[in-house]
C-alpha cells in the first residue's frame, strides 16, 4: 500500500519527529508561502533545495524515497511547463516545475515526520473545525482496512472479467466492477453501523472525547523561530 510508506516514515525517530505537529505545520506553511512568493532564480532554487535536503537529512528520511515520491506532481507540471515553453516563456516553465516539486517535497517532510493522528490533533488545537478533523481521523483509521478489502475485490473482478457478455468482455467487466464497488459500499456502510454500536456499548453519548494534546516545549518554540527565519532568509537576497 503506497500510503503505508509515508506512514512508516512518520513513526521514525529524529529531531524533527520529536517536534510538536503544530510548529511543524506552521513552519511548513511559511516555507510554502516563501516558495510561492520568491522570485525563481539560481540563488533561490539552490537555497530552498539545500534547506529541503538539510531537513530530509535531519529527519533521517530516505533521500531517494522522498525525491521519488515528490515526482508525483511532475506529470501535471510537465504539461503546463511545455505549454509555457512553447509560448516562449521559459522562466515560467522553470518556475512551475521548481515550485511544484519543492513544495511537494516539503509536504513530504512534514508527512514523513508526523503521524497523521498527531497532525490532526495539532490542527484541532490550532482551531480547525472539530467535526471535519474527526472525519479525517476516522477516514485515515479505516483507509488501510477498506483498501485491502478493495484490493481483494479488484483481483476477483479481474479474474472474473474473462466472461463474455452480450456487448463483449468490457461490458461484463464494467458490470463486475460496479458490482464490486456496490458491495464495498454496502460493507463499508454496515461497518460504520457496527462501529456506532461499539461506541454506544462503551458509553458514547454524542461527543467523542479525546486525551489531551501534548504541551509545547522550549525545543518546539526554538524550532518554530528558526524554521520561520530560515524559510524567509532566501527572500532577503531578492530586491
Amino acid at each position: 500500500m503506497h500510503h503505508a510508506v509515508v506512514d512508516r516514515w512518520s513513526h521514525g525517530h529524529s529531531l524533527l519527529h520529536a517536534r510538536d505537529a503544530r510548529v511543524k505545520l506552521l513552519v511548513l506553511l511559511v516555507f510554502l508561502v516563501a516558495l510561492a512568493t520568491a522570485r525563481v532564480s539560481a540563488l533561490t532554487i539552490l537555497a530552498y533545495s539545500f534547506l529541503l535536503a538539510a531537513a530530509i537529512a535531519v529527519a533521517r528520511l530516505p533521500v531517494g524515497g522522498v525525491l521519488l515520491r515528490a515526482c508525483v506532481v511532475l506529470p501535471f507540471t510537465a504539461v503546463f511547463a511545455c505549454l509555457s515553453l512553447l509560448a516562449g516563456e521559459g522562466s515560467r516553465a522553470l518556475a512551475l516545475a521548481v515550485r511544484s516539486y519543492l513544495s511537494a517535497a516539503a509536504v513530504l517532510v512534514l508527512a514523513g515526520t508526523t503521524p497523521l493522528p498527531e497532525f490532526l490533533r495539532g490542527l484541532e488545537s490550532l482551531g480547525a473545525p472539530r467535526f471535519l478533523v474527526l472525519v479525517v481521523q476516522f477516514l485515515y483509521r479505516y483507509l488501510f482496512v477498506i483498501s485491502e478489502q478493495a484490493q481483494h475485490m479488484r483481483l476477483a473482478a479481474c479474474s472474473r472479467g474473462a466472461a463474455r457478455g452480450p456487448l463483449g468482455p468490457d461490458r461484463a467487466r464494467f458490470r463486475a466492477a460496479s458490482g464490486a464497488v456496490a458491495v464495498l459500499f454496502a460493507r463499508s456502510y454496515a461497518r460504520a453501523q457496527a462501529i456506532h454500536r461499539a461506541m454506544l456499548a462503551r458509553g458514547f453519548e454524542g461527543r467523542i472525547r479525546m486525551l489531551s494534546a501534548p504541551r509545547l516545549t522550549a525545543a518546539d518554540w526554538l524550532f518554530l523561530a528558526l524554521g520561520i527565519l530560515i524559510s524567509l532568509a532566501p527572500l532577503a537576497g531578492t530586491p
Binding site: P117, R141, R191, A194, A198, M199, R209, M210, S212
Partner: protein, 236 residues
C-alpha cells in the same frame, strides 16, 4: 441467588420481518461463565445485543436489577462489557491508548485519569508496550487483547464475548483463554469452539432458530446436539 441478568420471553423481528428471537428465557448468575452454542444465524449475536440495549425487542431484559430501557441505558452499559467479534469495529480510535481510554473518557473521567486507567488495563492484558501504536499495525491476537483492555478498563460486572477466538491462531487462543480464565466477572461467551467453551464455561445453552432449546453442563449440551468436536475424516 438473584441473577445478574434476567431475560423473559424475548422476541425480536428484523426490519424485513424475519423472526430472529422467538421467546427466549435466560439467566446469568454471579461468578458463572455461560457458553452460547448453536448454528450460524440461530440468534446468538442478536440475543447478546439486547443485553445492553443495542437492540430492543418485546419481552423483558434486566441487568443487575435495572430494566434495559432508554432511561437506564447509560447505567446498563456500565455494567456490561461487550467484546465484538470483529476487533476492527471496536478499535476505532487512531492509537491503542486513545482507544482503550475511550470508555473512561465517555463515562466522564478527566484525560489524565483516563490515560492512567487505560495504561493499567493494557498492562492487565499484556499490551502495555503497544500504547502509542496504530491498530492496523497489530496482529489479530494483539487487536483482540487491546479490544479486551478497552472493555475491562471500565470495570464492568459482566463480560459478554462474541466469538472471541475468531482470527486467532492456537497460541493466541491459549493466551486469550489464560487471560479470560483469570477474570472474576460473570461471563457470557458466544462461540463455535467447543473446546474453548469446555475450558472456560461451567454451563452452556443451545440456540436454534431464535429459540433457546436447552441449558446444562457444557459436556451434556454438546453431546446432545451433536456439537462435540469429532475427528474429521477425509473421504477418498
Amino acid at each position: 441467588m438473584t441473577p445478574l441478568i434476567e431475560v423473559r420471553n424475548l422476541r425480536f423481528r428484523y426490519e424485513d420481518g424475519t423472526l430472529a428471537l422467538d421467546g427466549v428465557d435466560f439467566e446469568l448468575f454471579p461468578g458463572e461463565t455461560v457458553a452460547l452454542l448453536g448454528p450460524n444465524g440461530s440468534g446468538k449475536t442478536t440475543f447478546v445485543l439486547h443485553l445492553n440495549g443495542l437492540l430492543s425487542g418485546e419481552g423483558s431484559v434486566s441487568v443487575c436489577g435495572l430494566t434495559v430501557e432508554k432511561k437506564n441505558l447509560a447505567a446498563v452499559r456500565r455494567k456490561i462489557g461487550l467484546l465484538f467479534q470483529d476487533p476492527d469495529e471496536q478499535l476505532f480510535m487512531p492509537t491503542v491508548l486513545e482507544d482503550v481510554a475511550f470508555g473512561p473518557l465517555s463515562q466522564g473521567l478527566g484525560p489524565e485519569q483516563a490515560a492512567a486507567e487505560a495504561r493499567a488495563a493494557l498492562e492487565q492484558v499484556g499490551m502495555a508496550a503497544a500504547a502509542g501504536r496504530a491498530p492496523y499495525h497489530l496482529s489479530a491476537g494483539e487487536k483482540r487483547r487491546v479490544a479486551l483492555a478497552g472493555v475491562l478498563v471500565t470495570r464492568p460486572e459482566i463480560l459478554v464475548l462474541d466469538e472471541p477466538t475468531t482470527y486467532l491462531d492456537p497460541p493466541g487462543q491459549r493466551e486469550l483463554l489464560r487471560v479470560l480464565a483469570g477474570l472474576p466477572q460473570a461471563k457470557i461467551v458466544v462461540t463455535h469452539d467447543t473446546l474453548f467453551a469446555r475450558a472456560l464455561a461451567g454451563r452452556a445453552v443451545f440456540f436454534e432458530r431464535g429459540r433457546l432449546l436447552a441449558s446444562g453442563p457444557v459436556e451434556e449440551i454438546t453431546q446432545r446436539f451433536g456439537w462435540a468436536p469429532a475427528p474429521l475424516v477425509a473421504l477418498r
